[in-house]
Symmetry: C2
Subunit: 127 residues, 2 copies
DNA sequence: GATACCGGTATCCTTTTGGATAGTAGTATC
DNA sequence: GATACTACTATCCAAAAGGATACCGGTATC
């Protein structure tokens, strides 16, 4: 049997990173959460306005995603007693701490799309 | 009817950000992809070693995730003609461009866990 | 001969995710 | 009176993600 260094320094650090990223993904995972947060960075929006920003999201899914974000304290739901009622969704200060993640994803996504487009150009066309 | 500024500068920029993030998520989404990439940052690993790093991942899922990462050019699979064969999975230079995203997630995840732990401390215990 | 390691597959199943479609109460508008 | 808006909910369904379990051929080890 081989002697295993179960806690090699690099292995330990690696495991810690993996777990930290898993913790982050646990609340941010999914198709809509981060795009939805971005949709609110320029100020609070109403339900239908968000739906328009994120074209293609159905009301059921949007409603569920908003509830998730509320539970994780990224979003606050504010109801105004107008007639008919107005509901605004607003980012919390805690959501602001996601800035670096969102900016990194935005930057990388932009480059990635460029890369894909360019690689398509040099490929034969498949029918 | 209200006149809508369909292409307000901020709305345009917002939409571009949303789409960029969506592009990024399209290849990075899921429970395992980013943790898996981190498991390989300290050098190439063998199948079983990765499985041990990401405790709990089943071979079927790991195999699928590795194939996905290979298709997106984040990982290269290298087979060595030993007896029995040795297979190494190694990050490509393109995977290195994910550095800022992973680092941002790691940092945020670490803080987030702290926050959760602290908020649990001040809560009544539910049975 | 039994067991263990390697690099996976095969099969089956559950859960989660996401979507399509329709509908609701209330107001306002044409 | 018909239609449209807001902020959703209800129902049903398809697809994807993820997991449990078992297994394979080959080698090596006890």
């Amino acid at each position: 049997m081989m002697i295993q260094y179960k806690t090699k320094p690099t292995a330990e650090a690696c495991l810690a990173s993996i777990n930290a990223v898993r913790d982050a993904l646990y609340v941010l995972n999914g198709k809509w959460k981060m795009p939805l947060i971005i949709a609110l960075v320029n100020g609070p929006k109403r339900f239908k306005d968000i739906q328009r920003s994120l074209q293609d999201i159905t009301p059921k899914v949007l409603s569920k995603e908003l509830r998730d974000l509320e539970m994780n304290e990224f979003v606050e739901r504010k109801v105004f007693d107008t007639v008919p009622v107005t509901v605004l969704y607003e980012l919390t200060p805690y959501a602001d701490t996601l800035g670096p993640i969102l900016e990194a994803l935005r930057a990388w996504g932009t480059e990635h799309r460029q890369r894909i487009v360019e690689s398509r150009r040099s490929e034969p066309v498949a029918v």
